[in-house]
Symmetry: C3
Subunit: 352 residues, 3 copies
Amino acid sequence: MFDNQNSYHHTMKWSLQTILQRFQGTLLNGSYETMCAQYVDHLCTLEEGNVGGLSFFYQPKYLKQLYQTKASAILVPKNFTLIQPIEPILISVAHPYNCFISLMEEVSHQRRGVRSGVESPSYIGQEVSVGVNLYRGAFSYIGNHVVIGDNVKIYPHVYVGNHVTIGDNSILYSGSKLGDHTVIGQRCVIHAGAIIGSQGFGFITHQDHSYQRIPSIGSVVLENDVEIGTNTTIDAATIGKTHIGTGTKIDNLVHIAHNVEIGKHTGIAAQVGIAGSTKVGSYCRLGGQVGIAGHIQLGDGLTALGKAGITRSFKEGYVTLSGTPAFENRKFLACYAWFKKLGQEMKKKKET
Amino acid sequence: MFDNQNSYHHTMKWSLQTILQRFQGTLLNGSYETMCAQYVDHLCTLEEGNVGGLSFFYQPKYLKQLYQTKASAILVPKNFTLIQPIEPILISVAHPYNCFISLMEEVSHQRRGVRSGVESPSYIGQEVSVGVNLYRGAFSYIGNHVVIGDNVKIYPHVYVGNHVTIGDNSILYSGSKLGDHTVIGQRCVIHAGAIIGSQGFGFITHQDHSYQRIPSIGSVVLENDVEIGTNTTIDAATIGKTHIGTGTKIDNLVHIAHNVEIGKHTGIAAQVGIAGSTKVGSYCRLGGQVGIAGHIQLGDGLTALGKAGITRSFKEGYVTLSGTPAFENRKFLACYAWFKKLGQEMKKKKET
Amino acid sequence: MFDNQNSYHHTMKWSLQTILQRFQGTLLNGSYETMCAQYVDHLCTLEEGNVGGLSFFYQPKYLKQLYQTKASAILVPKNFTLIQPIEPILISVAHPYNCFISLMEEVSHQRRGVRSGVESPSYIGQEVSVGVNLYRGAFSYIGNHVVIGDNVKIYPHVYVGNHVTIGDNSILYSGSKLGDHTVIGQRCVIHAGAIIGSQGFGFITHQDHSYQRIPSIGSVVLENDVEIGTNTTIDAATIGKTHIGTGTKIDNLVHIAHNVEIGKHTGIAAQVGIAGSTKVGSYCRLGGQVGIAGHIQLGDGLTALGKAGITRSFKEGYVTLSGTPAFENRKFLACYAWFKKLGQEMKKKKET
């Protein structure tokens, strides 16, 4: 059960001649005839390469792996010079990694298949408009007054509330949920178990310490090309919109609270938490488990290293933060270097 | 798709005359006749106010926004004095925020609608007793020997195990799951994807380093008015109860381990983790991403700031903690201020 | 509703005579006849013991609880000496805790019942092979080309993608999801809402700052006896396998990124995050909320205390880490002790 053979091995097969022609490559070793007779049936890294595998090389730091790999063929850069004989067949191409990615996309596409049609049983409410090529998986639930674009894929166990809009070519994986009034742009990917548009965590505290919920009458808007990770949660705004900008990618188990606004092309790693009403700029990068306080503002291009706890605004952006409360990483590292010597330093001080 | 028009605009409409009468308000500017002819059709903040919007003002720090808002009407406090002419119609009322919240509740109620009846297909086991006005969504699953009170709303994809009790007026949103023997009080809200009553993470380690599961024969009890956030997990006790007290509110992606006990009216922000058998008092406030070790005790009224890591008991309560291991926040901040100077201080010391 | 009576009270009943015989025990107090007439109907801790309850004692630190408990009977070690009269009946056995666990297992087994058969409606694809004693709950979804072993339990709302393999005696609790090509070993337990085999979070950044997804063509492999906690997420490898070794136990809300490899019998507490391509050894223990950077290697037997942020490899293993960036805990504690005095120390320094 645990052998290294991938079950998709036999589903893809490329002749090296096809690969060479497709990427306008040049054969670097062996005879052209031998190459033409050779097929690869899976993609692999250099490190995990084995017979029948096609790999790629473009970063000098992996040179050792290149000369040790058991892969059958390798895409290398145009300027590559072989310094010793090597078993695998080398084909030089303009952009080895890009070529390799395009082959991965082909495999990925074939593996996932093209889901379409409606599986039974599934539930669909009233006044729902759907585009062409819809896939509606078994046990998916679509509420009332929903607008669904073309080529949308709704996997099993998805829940779509009332008054939701889903743009063309978006995918909702199994068990993801969209609360009422959620708006999803085009080409968005909502991974399994992600929940978008729950009521935000806002309460009034009474004098007897009891809490009264502040009703949530807002929603969540994802612009185009947004990706939301597995089991991530994004709460609806109290009033107005929780807003995620174009091309922003969010990893698993992230918490985005009510009324948060995030700019374009920002990357958010797993388990980040962003408290209510905070604004995060475009082109930011938030490392794993970063926490961001509510009602603050982070400018464009800001980077927060893993576990940073950001407690105040950094409107200027383009800074790298770490620590809790977070400050500039360069300074943090200097302080932390001293912190690590504290035991020793202080002891010396006592002795003198 | 991304315009600012909320799809619920046209579903609510209030005349300002009604608003004024309802809250026993006083008109502060313009003519009574003009006001009577005016309608508002949505609620908004001052900052995001636009035509047809009703907003509120009660905190002096938002005075600037008051004079800049494009909202059509604003609820202000009784003692409010207008210092310059203003476009929106101002109505002074005893408690602007409370009045506004009551309007939000009305909108929220209307948006969510009143779900009732049974959607098909859904699954219900044997010996299940249900109260009046039950909503059982499509693809919901209810096991055997379950007791469900009046006005309970069970959304699609909810799983209710065997021997579960759910009190009156509680709501289980889509995809939430209740393990066997879970007890849910009255007026509880379980948000989408929350999972209550899984087996706790307890193992015996054998000499060969392998783990043997300690069976879980306990359960989870939520008292009345408890709210559990999206994708939050609360594990069943090994023996006895994991217990959440009346009125306690828990945000998204929180982990509550087996045998934890939490008091009344405690607020727990997103991504907090509480390890096994720990007792948290009443009226506590735990900030985002706080971690609490197992088998410790935190007294009433304790506050833990975001990311604090609490490793020992603080039975006295009424203290504010930060840092890891956590100690008193006031002291932590003093130490951290010096930490941030460490690089500089130490360098100076070397130089002298 | 919140009384302390467990609804399973009356479902199990043991005579103390049976208990004594079963564990080859010795009666330590009272008359044999009295004991024979006595029954217990639930298991309890010393602290929460009450009438009809059977408890256990083996650690001297709980001696006080032993003499105060209201449990009706207690299993104690062979060498136990009673120093004062006590109400409960004491039975000395070779391994009180192990005996107690075996009784817990009996209760646990009886409470969960034996689920088997197929509930309706459920969905099953083409070319699915199943073993004996399968349970397929209502609203469960099984894709195409799936291989399922004997005695597998698939709870309601489970999603199983295409080309998945599930070994004998594994349990998938409600709402757990397995992406395409996932391999689950024997006797694995996948808790509710856990999602295994989503696409990893890998992107190429273009010059215009936009992200392009790196396709995911790998999978996840769990060896035998692995346990995955509630709402935990484990991403599929980009190429190859995300791999979890035999007997490794993972708690709730944990994030395991693409291409991570974890050894055997490692224990991972709640809310841990492990970034892409990192290798964690066997017999490690990762505390709650630990974060581990990508592309690093942690050796066997490593312990990371709660909230540690591990940013570099510790290949040697068998070390205890804390802090962020993490280093040896013994040293960290010394430094932190000085950190806590910094305010005071520095003030003194200024004064002199």
